[in-house]
Amino acid sequence: MSNLLLVTSPKYDDYTEYLSAYALLVIKETKNLGMDIRDLDEDRANKINFESFAGKSNTKIIFLNGHGNEDSVCGHKDKIIVSNENVGLLKDKITYARACSASTVLGKKAVENNKGSFIGYSRPFSFWINGNWSAKPLNDKGAGYCLYPSNEVVFFLMKGKTSAEAHQRSLRMMEENMKMLFRMNQRNEPGTIGILETLWNNYDGQVLLGNEEAKIG
């Protein structure tokens, strides 16, 4: 059986629309890499579906997009899909939670006493949305400075890199984006300082827990 990438991509507010639009870029790449994909999008991002696929032995990478807090991540319409109750499903998997604060409690439990890893955030994951592009998130350059480096985590994992390499790759890309934004701010380009601030918070809050060597293959 091929390795499976499990993605949750709810779309019911600005935040989830953006996360899911950028997640689609990752999903499209799986075809090039010969990886199986299960995308739980919109109302399919629910606990029943998640539990059904997360537990499969060939599910190697779990990419969660959604609202979250210290001990849970949500799917469609703020319904919790992974929490302390079913965190055992993340055992021995590589999980990237693009959600607020989930590394603080949920992530730690996910990697306890097993070979899995968890990349997530110790604080809110945030980005600015340009109202001119809110219907076309991929055209929103400002949001892209935060979301493209975030996608790199999963791109690198799909290519067989370790969790540490994927995490570091994402951080390096955020650093390059911070440099670009700083230069743009020096040229007084509007909005750049705010975007730099949120990118800094995502950068400073991104953490890798568990087995740093965890990878597919």
Partner: protein, 79 residues
């Protein structure tokens, strides 16, 4: 960096000034709290509620990164 459930006037002033420079048509998506326009964020910060506190914490984290040199080290690195 966690704040108590209140924001000092000095900090509030700094954060409000920084929010004010954002363009009119931008919204900040603050994780599990929702997406807010500049005007809404200013209101939340003035009220000192949970959204306001979260925004202030983000700003203070950035300011700390500037004042400690942590951010400038990144910006000046050649890698």
């Amino acid at each position: 960096m966690k704040l108590q459930n209140s924001i000092s006037p000095d900090v509030k002033e700094i954060v409000l000034a920084r929010l004010d420079v954002m363009p009119q048509n931008y919204k900040l998506s603050v994780g599990n709290q929702g997406a807010f326009t500049k005007e809404q964020l200013i209101k939340h910060v003035k009220e000192g509620d949970s959204v306001g506190i979260q925004v202030v914490e983000m700003q203070l984290s950035f300011i700390k990164a500037l004042t400690t040199g942590k951010l400038m080290n990144i910006l000046n690195s050649n890698e």
